[in-house]
């Protein structure tokens, strides 16, 4: 499935979830349930925001993650300089694509669950985020040298 198809699918899915939540909100009288539903709604809206941002970033940066030749190519040594420390940007590689984590919320202080940037994190990514639509939301800056 292409990124665009994935994007559309996620989008439709979230919209239908939101409609469901709103329907349920009409029905519930219990404030505990209501809170839970409102929380769901907030989460779903956050997901949409993420998808939209990604779409914008991908368009803005004119980098097509599906077409690696169009973007910057990183050697492991080059990638290793993007440590997120001492003013350096925070880059991470997953499945051959290099992402800029500098301003990604979950990478506060340029670290994430004990992981540091400047590395290929394909293995740990698969073990923690398998099946989650995360990569499509991240800004792409290039690819790893083959």
């Amino acid at each position: 499935m292409s990124e665009q198809q994935l994007y559309n699918k996620d989008f439709e899915h979230i919209i239908s979830e939101i409609n469901n939540t709103i329907d349920s909100l009409y029905l519930t009288k219990n404030c505990y349930d209501k809170n839970k539903l409102l929380n769901n709604l907030r989460r779903q809206i956050a997901n949409i925001t993420m998808l939209m941002q990604n779409n914008r970033i991908n368009t803005d940066s004119m980098i097509d993650p599906k077409n690696p030749t169009a973007s910057k190519v990183f050697t492991p040594a080059e990638l290793a300089t993007y440590t997120g420390k001492d003013g350096n940007l925070a880059y991470v590689a997953v499945n051959g694509v290099v992402y800029d984590m500098t301003n990604v919320a979950a990478w506060g202080g340029a670290t994430h669950f004990g992981l540091t940037p400047g590395k290929d994190l394909t293995g740990v990514f698969a073990s923690c985020h398998d099946g989650q639509p995360i990569l499509s939301t991240l800004p792409v800056v290039g690819v790893m040298a083959p």
Partner: protein, 298 residues
């Protein structure tokens, strides 16, 4: 702070929820429609921070818990009995109905002898033995705080006492209330719900969704700064703590609206980053807590 009348209904309802649940449980116990249940507070390999946190709670507070809601059979920090008499009291409950609250991890090194919680019939009772004997028989097991839920600081590397979470020892449902310490509201809300209705809705990691469903980042009052890329350069700044290492974006809990100690303040309100104490992996995977030389260009 807490006296705003125009706050978001979602937030104010959330704060009211705990006292609503507790008052309902107290009223039901008073009129006899609900039985007062036994409660065992088992402190294992930790710092006593969760019992102290519970004592800091209000509406309902510890006084409500101890006098109106449950029979506290055992709690090493507060019970009057000591020595073997205390241990006998603890183990005499095993055949009765009881809810088990656990704070602290379980030290397993050298057959658990790194943490002995008492002596029974002349033999030491290790934390490991206590949880193994009392965990399976309890009607509910609630793990309070980072250590009980996930090993926490007690299991921080190199984990000298080989400490593990409660769940690693017990093959049964353990309700988890992570946090360092656990907020008294999270505990009292969960407990009140259990008394009234049984097990509350839990997420995939067995945390009650009524407290652990939304990321701090998503409801953080400093979120607009993040969205605009305005970041604190040091502690004490009033903007987004992201560059200093804030773990709010990976920690799903309701700190920003609930706050601490009668809802007066919270870490980000104190101009410091969230250190992710209510997320699994704390502290090792949440460090460094404070970073000063990150991606900001000089």
């Amino acid at each position: 702070m807490k006296n705003k009348t125009n706050s978001c209904p979602n937030q104010s309802e959330k704060l009211k929820l705990i006292s609503m649940l507790a008052n309902k449980a107290i009223a039901s116990i008073k009129n006899g429609s609900l039985k007062k249940r036994n409660l065992v507070w088992l402190e294992l390999t930790g710092c006593s921070g969760n019992i102290i946190s519970l004592l800091d709670g209000v509406n309902p507070g510890f006084r409500n818990l101890a006098t109106q809601m449950v029979n506290i059979i055992y709690d090493n920090s507060l019970m009057v009995a000591d020595g073997e008499a205390a241990m006998e009291k603890l183990f005499s409950i095993a055949d009765d109905d009881y809810i088990l609250l656990v704070e602290g991890a379980v030290a397993t090194k050298d057959d658990g002898l790194y943490n002995v919680i008492g002596q029974l019939n002349g033999q030491p009772v290790t934390a490991y033995r206590a949880i193994n004997e009392l965990g399976p028989k309890a009607s509910y097991v609630i793990a309070m705080g980072a250590c009980a839920c996930d090993g926490g600081v007690t299991a921080a590397k190199p984990n000298p006492s080989h400490a593990v979470s409660i769940q690693s020892v017990l093959n049964r449902k353990v309700i988890k209330l992570p946090g360092c310490p656990c907020h008294p509201d999270w505990l009292m809300g969960t407990l009140s719900y259990i008394l009234l209705y049984g097990q509350p809705e839990l997420d995939s990691k067995d945390r009650p969704t009524m407290f652990y469903s939304t990321l701090i980042h998503d409801i953080c009052p400093r979120r607009p700064f993040f969205d605009q890329g305005i970041f604190a350069e040091k502690l004490g700044d009033k903007t987004c703590m992201f560059k200093i290492g804030c773990r709010g974006p990976v920690t799903p809990v309701d700190c920003p609206i609930r706050k601490w100690n009668q809802h007066v303040n919270w870490p980000i309100g104190d101009d410091s980053p969230c250190i992710g104490c209510a997320q699994f992996g704390f502290p090792d995977r949440m460090e460094p807590f404070i970073s000063y030389n990150t991606t900001r260009e000089e």
